[in-house]
């Protein structure tokens, strides 16, 4: 199974394959062997590559497909497959068509780092949004060219507001 997991404004392609009672998980081209044991309804104990243990608590957040994952005492918001978490996998769609970079939370645009027409690389920061006193770098999900810029510095944006479209 192939998933797109968005964390901290960065999208990662994650492939999960069952190997016996373990999982082979490939993130950004690197594969880890993960032993998984369920502790309770929300908590998994992982052992990565045979020796590295981690307790992770995975709880649904307010929006479908959004999760809050607590690992090492740090709550990390994650989105799996955008809004399509429970839909059919559509692997062919990944990497084609326009990419819409949207604000993950309400906030204020403090910097716009690209102009229409600029070439961008995957993971390049495109817009910085300040929310809850923190600056959040929102990044391009893939290589391409900036087709549209919908915000300018100083603007307030709602959660889900379209910021930049990458062609």
């Amino acid at each position: 199974m192939q998933y797109e997991v968005e964390i901290g404004g960065r999208r990662r392609q994650v492939a999960v394959t069952r190997v016996g009672d373990r999982f082979a998980v490939t993130v950004d081209g690197t594969t880890k062997q993960v032993d998984v044991a369920r502790i309770d309804a929300h908590t998994l104990s992982l052992i990565v590559d045979g020796v590295w243990p981690a307790d992770v608590t995975i709880a649904p957040a307010s929006q479908a497909g959004d999760l809050t994952i607590t690992v090492g005492g740090v709550p990390i918001p994650a989105t799996v497959n955008g809004r399509r978490r429970w839909g059919r996998q559509d692997d062919a769609a990944a990497g084609t068509g326009p990419e819409r970079v949207a604000a993950p939370m309400p906030g204020k645009v403090v910097r716009v780092l690209v102009n229409a027409g600029d070439a961008v690389r995957a993971r390049q920061p495109v817009v910085v949004v300040e929310a809850m006193k923190m600056e959040n770098e929102l990044r391009a999900g893939r290589d391409g060219a900036v087709a549209e810029v919908h915000v300018r510095e100083g603007m307030s944006v709602e959660a889900g507001a379209l910021l930049v479209v990458i062609q």
Binding site: D21, L46, A59
Partner: protein
Amino acid sequence: MKKILIANRGEIAVRVIRACRELGISPVAIYSECDRTALHVRLADEVYAVGPSAPRESYLRIDRVIDAVRRSRADAVHPGYGFLAENAEFAAAVRDAGAAFIGPSPGAIAAMGSKTAARAAAARAGVPVVPGTADPLPADMADAEIAAISARVGYPLLVKAVAGGGGKGMRTVTDPADLAGAIRSARSEAGTAFGDAAVYIERRLTRPRHIEVQLLGDEHGTVLPFVERECSIQRRHQKVVEETPSVAVSPELRRAITSAAAEVARAVGYTNAGTIEFLLDESGAFYFLEMNTRLQVEHPITEMVTGLDLVRWQIRIARGERLDVDPERLLAPSGHAIECRIYAEDPDNNFLPSPGRIQHLRVPAGPGIRDDSGATAGLEVPIFYDPMISKLVAWAEDRPLAIARMRRALREYIVAGIKTTVPFFEWLLAQPAFADGAFHTTYLDELLRSRNGRPFVEPTPQLEEMAAVAAAIETALSASAVGGGATPLPPQNGRNGSSGGWRAQARVEGVRGL
């Protein structure tokens, strides 16, 4: 005494229930609507609903609590702290209902509850008080006259509510031009918070420490002080870390400050548990600040270094027993203890309350660790009350070991689903000034300002990658449950192919992403 009603909720209600059980006494709980599933309700022998969730409609309703006392036929009431614990009217109502109030007399509560009356009592006992006005400022006093009094007290000064506590109704004034405005706003805040707008003026000491002395007094004239507690680590006048003994208190100073505390208590005929708070200035001089006529949140650290159970003694004293312990033992601490108040607050969002459901809880344990808590996995932390969910206490032979133990325990502590102050404490206890014990009552506020909003919780690339792995695995497990194909997790789940109802339920839960 066979049955005690606990007029409180959360972790302190659980703490009192435990003391009752150990004495063979039956505990009775009260609860508001949103506390139906709280731990104190589930641990008690009898429970009485006292109304809607808002405290004014339940835990603060003297009539409803007294009704529960009558219906349960409890022979005593423990008030905990907060809510009605320092309400003389409530203490009197408990006695009128034929039950014992586990605390001081209504007269002692009233006498020490007024800050100006308490200062006068301390002065009569020969204990120095912070320079300031002896009486509340009359409401009709002219601004010019207040300014003249303030100039005599000296700047910087504090405008404080007579009925105050927890920093409410309190203003610091450095510039005489700000005085009139500070008095107006302190009066207004005090009127709202305490129903009493009276304020007085006190000199503000520079960089003082907050040192307090726990006392127990029996009903036969014995009053005994305990080794001091150091409570200088405060955020906006609220204690967040307490420890005992204090690095700033020598054996000579301990004799002097604990004797002074006992003198004040004896002067007002004080009984049961109480605490006298002092400010200690940089020269080593101490000044009476106020008395709390109840058990304190930080009582466990005193229990850890003296071996006495303070709640048990509160109950024994209320039964009329004599305080027959060796006074020297109470002043000779064994080792060192530290408490961190774990709050359901988001340290990265200006410590705003973070209510919600606790999805997973891993509580630290092991050598020297005590977690006094009312939290359980699945519990909803309500928005209506103080957001403290636990008091984490570490004891060890000496201070450096106690700090190391606390840091180890904080690392073990996982509260998923809500934000807590655990990451803030991990940072604070790693500060060199904390390790040196070099702090005062405004140290933490200054330190937090100098951080300039830098987050306490910063996901590293490694943690983000682990989160991505976990998110994908969880989604894959849920997807296979939806598809009904492979069993989700063979070794742990084990129950494949049982009843169709169970499988259907598993699918539903898979869809919910549980």
